[in-house]
Amino acid sequence: MMSIFGRSVLPPAVHPAMLAPDWPSGFWSHLIIFIVILFVFYIFMAMAFIYFERRVISRFQIRIGPNRIGPFGLLQPVADVIKILIKEDIVPNNVDKWIYLLAPAVAVVPSILIFAVIPFQNGASLIDLNIGILYVVAISSISVVGLVMAGWSSNNKYSLISAMRVIAQVVSYEIPMALAIIGVVVFSGTLSMNGIVQAQTVPYILLQPLGFVIYFLASMAEINRTPFDLLEAEGEIVAGFNIEYSGFKFALFYLTEYAEAIGVSTIITTIYLAGWKGPFLPPAFGIVWFLIKVFAVFALIIWVRATLPRLRIDQVMGFAWKCLLPLSLINLLITGAQVVFWPNLSQWVIVGVNFVLAGLLIALWSRFFKLTGDKVEV
């Protein structure tokens, strides 16, 4: 298949039902060994992200983070995990029992399933589906059901308010996210994740700056990070849907939050920053560039968290429907027009034109729309 700018894209390295040519003894051993590697990667990255976040946020606040446990505090996440696992698991009396017990599982599992299609190197993913990015969008919407189950079954008014906010926020931000992804797919010509990485000679963050901004903001709203973290806002509703959870179930919710952050960082790296590609290193070491880019994206997320206050729920909804959705539609229109009418233009001209258009659109949009809600008559 040919991508938009006339360069050919290699066929996916693994057909979904066949083995990779260099793995011995069949399809099942590849699957099982890679699943074990993925789990180890997942747990290790979750602990690394927890440690990284605490140290970096402390530097923004001019203090030293945890540095007592182990050299430079590197065993701090281990201590955290042990502490959470040995805490008492309290189940209150009037909760809706089965929904209460199943909610953490429903929330955690989809965030692990995303890792099945991410390419760590050229062709090195668990399964290289040819509908990769569509699978990601579909799976990541399931975990909100777990949060709503937690909020409803806890029999607590604070959790109920939080559950209602979760539904509204996550469902509204799915649409700009999906539309920004369609912009990328139009440029690359394939839905498979490995194919998207291979089609990027110029990283898509330069070719679609407006799409990157929209996708970044929408995915921060999906994973409930500041400035959209009003679901677990400490100031008002004191930890939201995980008020009544303690012990291992709380550990699963905590892990979900970081797993979604890892998932979003890896997806942004794959789609917009050209995944495992990078200069100066032979192609067998693509995973080094991959990890560097993932940590860079996460550092940007932490930087935004350390600086900005949070928004109110009606401002969040207004931002999604009045601002991000029309901008993502216009982005798609511009991308489509460029592909259809000027397919042979050099890529750097498109970069320049897109940056100018992005700046113009953001300035224009900010002038003409109003976000605040007023006082309601009682």
């Binding site: 001019i62 973290d229 400490e234 008002e236 004191v238 350390a306 729920i313 976000l371």
Partner: protein
């Protein structure tokens, strides 16, 4: 078919991360919109007014420290001004200037904390709060150098102050007031044009001029609504009529205006400290007061401009060494009477922002 809805009661209970202390608010909510609020307080009542009747006048200064424990110097000053008015004592010049320097430093520290906690409640995850705390640490170091404590100072006495300043105080103070305006400007820049902060604080919790006067509000709440009333200019006590400084006044009376008034007041306090250090005379620090003070029969009301509003003490004396009645006018409690009108019709997130901008301290509300 009409959709049937029901209101429910949410208890922002005594233990909550954003009510500054043990203060309870019972909201009646319809979805996210607040229909009614009922504040419940009294969880920190210690009986200070009754206990003060069993102690002598100099011993009562210790209890006034613990009223608004974040601004102890101005509490001391209010009590001492009231007793001096009752007993007719003249305070020497050097003591007055030292009192002014300490009170203005206290005002800066209290406003730093108020602004920091307001931003923390709005959601900025501790970063502006820790920047403000860093500057407040420098002020607390100065207080530690003079009177030995960082929180409950017990520094002012009836007739003057208790100890003179050591010789490394003035150079350190000079360095502090040279570096502080730059830091305050940096924090203003962090948040002044920030769109999210503007969206959260503009047109939220608007208190009109007439309503502010009717609720007898005082301090930045009153000045944010446009009323230019400051006791340091309207009824000057101590030596405040020798300094020239301005009184910042807001326009609309929303949360943003009160936040700006507090930041401008910090700049004006730095101005006053500079003038006081330049005019500081030598001399005595305490007037000749008998060891057991027995003022004549009568009553007096002494008030000052504290960081949270007008703090007043009403003392009735019957000629003995203990006061007959000591009553405190707490600015936080009287500013809170406006809470119900401000909060009805807004959402929960706004209610916390409004509550943070009134800036209470529960030790004062409950005494």
């Amino acid at each position: 078919m009409v959709l049937k809805t029901e209101t429910f009661i949410l208890n922002a209970g005594p233990q909550h991360p954003s009510t500054h202390g043990v203060f309870r608010m019972r909201f009646t909510l319809d979805g996210e919109v607040i229909q009614d609020v009922e504040p419940v307080f009294g969880y920190l009542h210690r009986g200070i007014e009754k206990l003060a009747e069993g102690l002598t006048y100099p011993q009562d200064i210790v209890f006034t420290d613990r009223l608004d424990y974040l601004a102890s110097m101005t509490n001391n000053q209010a009590y001492v001004v009231a007793v001096e008015k009752l007993a007719g004592i003249e305070v020497p010049e050097r003591a007055e200037y030292l009192r002014v320097i300490m009170a203005e430093l206290m005002r800066i520290s209290s406003h730093l904390m108020a602004v920091g906690f307001l931003l923390n409640d709005i959601g900025a995850f501790l970063t502006p709060l820790l920047y403000m705390y860093r500057e407040r640490e420098k002020i607390l170091d100065l207080y530690d150098m003079v009177c030995g404590q960082r929180l409950t100072y017990n520094y002012m006495r009836i007739g003057g102050v208790s100890q003179d300043i050591p010789e490394e105080f003035l150079p350190a103070l000079q360095r502090l007031i040279d570096s502080l305006p730059r830091f305050i400007k940096e924090y203003e820049q962090l948040l002044e044009f920030n769109e999210i902060l503007l969206m959260r604080t503009k047109n939220v919790g608007t208190l009109s001029k007439e309503a502010a006067i009717n609720f007898s509000a005082a301090g930045p709440v009153l000045r944010g609504s446009g009323v230019k009333w400051d006791i340091r200019k309207a009824d000057p006590y101590s030596v405040y009529n020798r300094f020239n400084f301005e009184v910042p006044v807001g326009v609309k009376g929303d949360v943003y205006d009160r936040y700006r008034v507090r930041i401008e007041e910090m700049h004006q306090s730095i101005n006053i400290i500079k003038q006081a250090v330049a005019q500081l005379p030598q001399g005595e620090i305490m007037a000749k007061v008998s060891r057991v003070l027995k003022p004549a029969k009568g009553e007096a009301y002494g008030h000052i401009e504290g960081p949270k509003g007008e703090l007043g003490f009403y003392i009735v004396s019957d000629g003995s060494a203990n006061p007959y009645r000591l009553h405190i006018r707490p600015p936080s409690l009287i500013n809170l009477t406006a809470l119900r009108e401000l909060v009805i019709g807004t959402k929960i997130a706004d209610a916390m922002a409004i509550f943070g901008s009134i800036d209470i301290c529960v030790g004062e509300v409950d005494r």
